[in-house]
Each structure stands twice: as structure tokens, then as C-alpha cells.
């Protein structure tokens, strides 16, 4: 397997799907000749031209709206929202239109729309360029939500999203774009609704998404080395659909669970995941499920403050230690 970056994986997924299917096109701000602010469309304009790699005006609601219209009439748009924060300008289009048009019309259409956007803090980009907003979309019936945590998943999940006949939001972890990882040379996709055990273990389950998976794996190493705690790291990969079974199985096995997400903790996805696994594995749990997320604050600019607001691998290590230290009566 070749080692490529998360960014390259994203580009490969799009270019392969655009070659495969003329109906696929990319629209977004500066995705054209300049290759995107995050350089995630580099080369696409040269290969596919201005008709299929479209520089949009700074009109997020508008071009997501256009993408919905294009999707229900035979095209398969990939719409890029540079920062996840900008998705807030497009909520009406995504939630009131894209997610509902099929249902409201009694199944008369399909909406093969992929929205690529980013999540994650850590770049000192402050409150309007650092949010992780996947929970908002996971809550909306009619949408699917994928959160790739490594280059292989970035490529495989994005290809699946593009081929899916429903609106899919793919949240790319912007701190991972330069991360390298093995990616199969041959054509592949990764099905939605299939979690992956990223590391097997016996003493505690960590359910993590996006860049939190990397932190969890780091923490698992530390815990194995320093505490002889064997951690299992499970990545749901898609929040909708959700592979409950794999999550629950792992928790039943280990008896302990920690859920890690980078979004602000309150009313985020960790609550749902905790509630689900608690209900299904109640009799196997030796302690209540623990959760880690960002502090309930807008993301601050200064590194000292930003660092204090988001999870780190040490936060995870500490939480697992606390969890395992707390034996149930």
C-alpha cells in the first residue's frame, strides 16, 4: 500500500469518481485553478476543466441550493464548504431542502449530493473557523454523516458518499490534511454504517471520531506502556448510519467505555453514543460511560486558551485511568 496524505486521499477520491461518472462535479470557493485554500482540489481543474470544477461566488447558501437542484435533476454534485463554520449559512438548504425533498415528495427523487467540509480546532483560527458541527447534521433525518479519521477512510468514505443517492456530509479533519497513512493502490470504497476497530484491546473501549481517533490511539499506547491497560479503539466512521452493533459489542467485552469527540461536549454526539451503548450494554458496564469533548466555550484564538478548550491525548489517558480506577460495587 502506498503512503499518501489525507489531502491526497481526498483528491484521489474526487478525481477517480469524476473520471468514472460524468455526472460528478465539484463546486466551491476557490476550488478551481487555485486548487483550494486547503489545496484539496489540486489538479482537478487541470484535468476536468472549468465546466466540472466550478469556482463559486461567496454565496454558500446559494451554491448549496444549486447543488440540491442539480442533484435532483441528474447530476452528482460535490459541494465544498471551506470551513465547517460556514455550513451555518446553508442550514436551510441542507436541512429544509436537501434532507427533506425526497421524503416530502413521497420518494419522487434522489438527492445524490456530497457536501465536503472541515472540522477541528488547533490552528489558532478562533471561534468562527474552528467549530466541529457534525452533531447538528447527525440530528437531522434524511442526512448521512461521515467523519474520516485517516487517509484510507478519507478516500474510501468520500467515494461512497459520492456514489450514495442521499445527501451526505463528509467532515474532513483539517488538522489531518498533511497526515500520511497507507491507502490501497487498487480501487476500493468503504461502506457506510460499518465501524472499524482501529486497535483491539480488552480493558476499556474508546469510541472516537475524526482526529480524536489519532489521539485515542496515542493514548492507548501510553496506557498500555505505563498502566498495562489494554484499550480498544473503535471508530464509527459514519454517525448516520451508525454501526451500533460493533460499538456495543466492544463495550460488552471491555465493560468500560470512553467516548471522545472534538465538538463542544454539551448536547453533542457523545451523549447519543453514550446513551445507546449504555442501554445496550447496561449489564456489562462496570462503570458509567465517560465522555470527553471540547469545553463549552467558543474556540478561543490564543494557543494557551485554545489548548485548554480542546481534548488532548493526555486528557484521554487521564480519563481512562479514572475510569479503570473506579471499580463498580
Amino acid at each position: 500500500m502506498a503512503e499518501i496524505t489525507y489531502r491526497e486521499a481526498v483528491i484521489q477520491a474526487m478525481s477517480e469518481e469524476m473520471r468514472r461518472d460524468d455526472a460528478v462535479f465539484l463546486i466551491g470557493e476557490d476550488v478551481g485553478p487555485s486548487g483550494g485554500i486547503f489545496k484539496c482540489s489540486e489538479g482537478l481543474f487541470d484535468e476536468f476543466g472549468a465546466a466540472r470544477v466550478i469556482d463559486a461566488p461567496i454565496s454558500e447558501a446559494g451554491y448549496i441550493g444549486l447543488s440540491v437542484g442539480a442533484a435532483v435533476t441528474g447530476m452528482r454534485p460535490i459541494a465544498e464548504l471551506m470551513f465547517g463554520d460556514f455550513s451555518l449559512l446553508t442550514m436551510d438548504q441542507i436541512v429544509n431542502q436537501a434532507a427533506k425533498i425526497r421524503y416530502m415528495t413521497g420518494g419522487q427523487c434522489r438527492v445524490p449530493l456530497t457536501i465536503r467540509t472541515t472540522m477541528g480546532a488547533g490552528r489558532s483560527s478562533a471561534a468562527q473557523h474552528s467549530q466541529s458541527l457534525h452533531a447538528l447534521f447527525a440530528h437531522i433525518p434524511g442526512l448521512k454523516v461521515a467523519l474520516p479519521s485517516c487517509p484510507r477512510d478519507a478516500k474510501g468514505l468520500l467515494k461512497t458518499a459520492i456514489r450514495d443517492d442521499n445527501p451526505v456530509l463528509v467532515f474532513e479533519g483539517k488538522m489531518m490534511y498533511n497526515d500520511k497513512g497507507p491507502v490501497p493502490e487498487e480501487e476500493y470504497t468503504i461502506p457506510f454504517g460499518v465501524a472499524e476497530v482501529k486497535r483491539a484491546g480488552d480493558d476499556c473501549t474508546i469510541i472516537a471520531v475524526s482526529s480524536m481517533v489519532g489521539l485515542a490511539l496515542e493514548a492507548a499506547q501510553t496506557l498500555s506502556r505505563e498502566d498495562e491497560i489494554s484499550v480498544e479503539v473503535v471508530d464509527p466512521r459514519t454517525l448516520v448510519p451508525l454501526d451500533e452493533e460493533t460499538l456495543v459489542e466492544s463495550v460488552r467485552k471491555t465493560g468500560y467505555a470512553l467516548i471522545v469527540d472534538e465538538a463542544s461536549l454539551r448536547y453533542g454526539v457523545t451523549g447519543e453514543l453514550a446513551a445507546l451503548v449504555t442501554e445496550a450494554a447496561f449489564d456489562y458496564l462496570d462503570a458509567p460511560v465517560k465522555r470527553i469533548g471540547a469545553a463549552n466555550v467558543p474556540i478561543p484564538f490564543s494557543p494557551t486558551l485554545e489548548g485548554a478548550a480542546i481534548p488532548h491525548s493526555e486528557t484521554i489517558v487521564d480519563a481512562v485511568r479514572a475510569l479503570r480506577g473506579k471499580i463498580r460495587r
Partner: protein
């Protein structure tokens, strides 16, 4: 039911002097409404009816077809009202009575494979684009036989097989879908066009600027049809609209714009047909502001106390699109009163049949609630 009126079948109608926007049937003395500025004015850039109006004879078939369709919409809506009063309909509905010429004239200029997007006040658009009375009424009553299997109701009727991409409960919700369908047509290399109906109220949604601008820069085959009925819910349009003419916004975005007397179905048809050929030729988007008026409240049950009886009366007497067309057909010897009345009676029967069909149709079983979420 009347056959679908498409541009392919359409024979040329009389080429009217485009600045004389007043319908012939309206007395010149009575034409100034108590409020609102209805005088039609054209922008220099406005498209002119070309292909569709090249002779100056009136096409009788087409006029009859448009007349019949307008009557169909009128009677359909009257029965929706009735069905509402009788408690046969869940929820609410927004009636199109008074605005029939806009939908009928505009859709007459479209092909079956062209797209439209519609609004909360959408029954007229749907029927004009060829929807069946029975499945429409069934949808409004929440029946499984309805267009959306009972999932959409009055505000979400769609018939994708006829290019009707659906009504929308979000005011301005059609801008994105319609403009995207135009982008799609262009990318797929078809010569389909897309027509977006929306209200004067919707013209204050920012997405108009966003999608209109994209239509301009990418030269998309889309026609924006603003139904300026001078109210958004209970609020007069001029209280909430900065510019005197909504169509000016189009030109400022780089679109061609034109304002039209929306009660004159031929004028509507002519202008939209010109915009359609322009779009089909690849010459880009047009924005048409139709001056119109709703004869009923905002929705069934709204007593419309926010406007005067005098104002309403003026419009009903001077701008009833069905009367105007009927009178004109009589004047030109195309119709006489008894034939017009026969159409009315036939249509009434059809609508009553549709209501009966819908009444007797079964409600969808509860488990269908979980279907159609994902493809």
C-alpha cells in the same frame, strides 16, 4: 382534463405592443388600483417575444386551452376552500384564486421536460404544469393516492415526471433548486429550461441575490417569475420592499428584467415564451415581475382584514384573468358565452369527481411514515 399546453404545440398569438400592458378587456378609466403600482414598464434589456409570437392571428386552440386551465385552477381552489370548511382537509392551504394567468401563461411557454419550482401557493403552478386534479386533491387531503403519498400535503406537491420539482414551504425555497436544475440542464447539454415561481415577499430573501448572481455569471437557462401580489401574509409589499420595482434587483445582478401585467394571460405567455427561447438559445436568464393579486386571504381561514374591500373589488372587477380572457375571446369571435359556460360546467364536474376520488381514497398506513427517508 385539458391537454397540457406546451410551447411545442403553441401556435403564435397576436403580437401586442409590448408597452401596452393593459388587458384589452379592462376599461382604461378603471385601471388604476386603489394602491400599488401596477403600470408595466420594460427594461431595455428585456427579451422580446420572438419565436412564439411571430404571426398576428390569435390561436384559438391555445386560448381555449389556457382558458380551460385557468377555470380548472379557479374551481379547484374553490373546492379546496370547500373541503377545508367541511373539515375534510388536514392543515392549511394557500389559494391561487386571482393569479391564474401567471401560472397558466408561464407554463404554456414551457415544454413538458422543462422544470418548475413552486411555492406554498402552488396549486396553480402544479395544475398549469400538467398535474392531475385527482392526485392533487388526494394529496391535499393526505391520502396515499396523492402525489406525495400523503407525505407532503398542499405545500409540497411535486410531479417530477412532469418537471415539477415541487412546491416549497420555505419562502424563497425554490431559488436554489430551480437555479440548480438550470445548471444541471446546461451541464447535461440538454436545452431544458427551469422556471422559478416566487412571491414579492420571497424577493426579500437574500438567496435571490445569490442564485440570481450565479444565473448571471454562468448564463443559466432559468426564468425567475416573481408573482407580485402585493402582500406577504398580512404585510403590504411596499412597506417591506425598498425599491419600487422588484425587477430592478435583477438588472443589478446582471439579469434581463421585465415587468408584466400578470392578469393578462397572453401577455404573460408572450413574455415568458420570449424568456424561454432566450434561455434555450443559451442567452441566459430572465427575471419577470408579474403584477397580480390574490382574491382570497393569505390562506384558507384568513379573513384578510389588512386590506380594504374597495381594493379587492377593484382587482376582482378589473383584473380577473379569467374574465379578461373570456371577454377577449368573445370579442375576437373565438368564443361565445354559452361555450365558455360549458367549459365551466365541464371543469366543475371534473373537479367534483376529483374531490370524490380523494374523499374515497384511503389514508396511508402508519408504517409508511418510515419510508422514503433515504433512497
Amino acid at each position: 382534463m385539458a391537454k397540457k399546453v406546451t410551447a411545442r404545440r403553441a401556435k403564435p398569438v397576436a403580437k401586442k405592443k409590448v408597452t401596452a400592458a393593459l388587458p384589452e378587456g379592462a376599461s382604461k378609466r378603471k385601471t388604476k388600483p386603489p394602491r400599488a403600482k401596477t403600470a408595466a414598464r420594460r427594461s431595455g434589456k428585456a427579451p422580446r417575444a420572438k419565436t412564439a409570437a411571430k404571426s398576428n392571428g390569435l390561436d384559438a386552440d391555445m386560448l381555449w386551452s389556457m382558458y380551460r386551465k385557468m377555470v380548472q385552477i379557479r374551481k379547484f381552489e374553490e373546492h379546496v376552500w370547500d373541503v377545508y370548511i367541511r373539515g375534510l382537509m388536514p392543515g392549511l392551504a394557500h389559494l391561487y384564486i386571482g393569479e391564474e394567468a401567471v401560472a397558466v401563461g408561464a407554463c404554456a411557454a414551457l415544454r413538458e421536460d422543462d422544470y418548475i419550482t413552486s411555492t406554498h401557493r402552488g396549486h396553480g403552478h402544479c395544475l398549469a404544469k400538467g398535474a392531475r386534479l385527482d392526485r392533487m386533491m388526494a394529496e391535499i387531503m393526505g391520502k396515499e393516492a396523492g402525489y406525495c403519498r400523503g407525505k407532503g400535503g398542499s405545500m409540497h406537491i411535486a410531479d417530477m415526471s412532469l418537471g415539477n420539482l415541487g412546491a416549497n414551504g420555505i419562502v424563497g425555497g425554490g431559488f436554489g433548486v430551480a437555479t440548480g436544475a438550470a445548471l444541471s440542464a446546461k451541464m447535461r447539454g440538454t436545452d431544458q429550461v427551469s422556471l422559478c415561481f416566487f412571491g414579492d415577499g420571497a424577493a426579500n430573501q437574500g438567496i435571490l441575490l445569490e442564485t440570481g448572481n450565479m444565473a448571471a455569471i454562468w448564463n443559466l437557462p432559468v426564468i425567475y417569475v416573481c408573482e407580485n401580489n402585493q402582500y406577504g401574509e398580512h404585510t403590504p409589499s411596499d412597506k417591506v420592499t425598498g425599491s419600487e420595482r422588484i425587477v430592478d434587483r435583477a438588472e443589478a445582478m446582471g439579469l434581463a428584467g421585465v415587468r408584466v401585467e400578470g392578469a393578462d394571460v397572453m401577455e404573460v405567455y408572450e413574455v415568458v415564451a420570449a424568456a424561454v427561447s432566450r434561455a434555450r438559445r443559451g442567452d441566459g436568464a430572465t427575471f419577470v415581475e408579474m403584477m397580480t393579486y390574490r382574491f382570497r386571504g393569505h390562506h384558507v381561514g384568513d379573513a384578510a382584514t389588512y386590506r380594504t374591500a374597495k381594493e379587492l373589488k377593484w382587482w376582482m372587477e378589473n383584473r380577473d384573468p379569467i374574465n379578461l380572457l373570456g371577454e377577449r375571446m368573445i370579442k375576437h369571435g373565438i368564443a361565445d358565452r354559452s361555450r365558455l359556460e360549458r367549459v365551466d360546467e365541464q371543469v366543475e364536474e371534473e373537479v367534483v369527481e376529483a374531490v370524490e376520488f380523494a374523499r374515497n381514497a384511503p389514508l396511508p398506513p402508519a408504517e409508511q411514515a418510515r419510508e422514503d427517508v433515504y433512497a
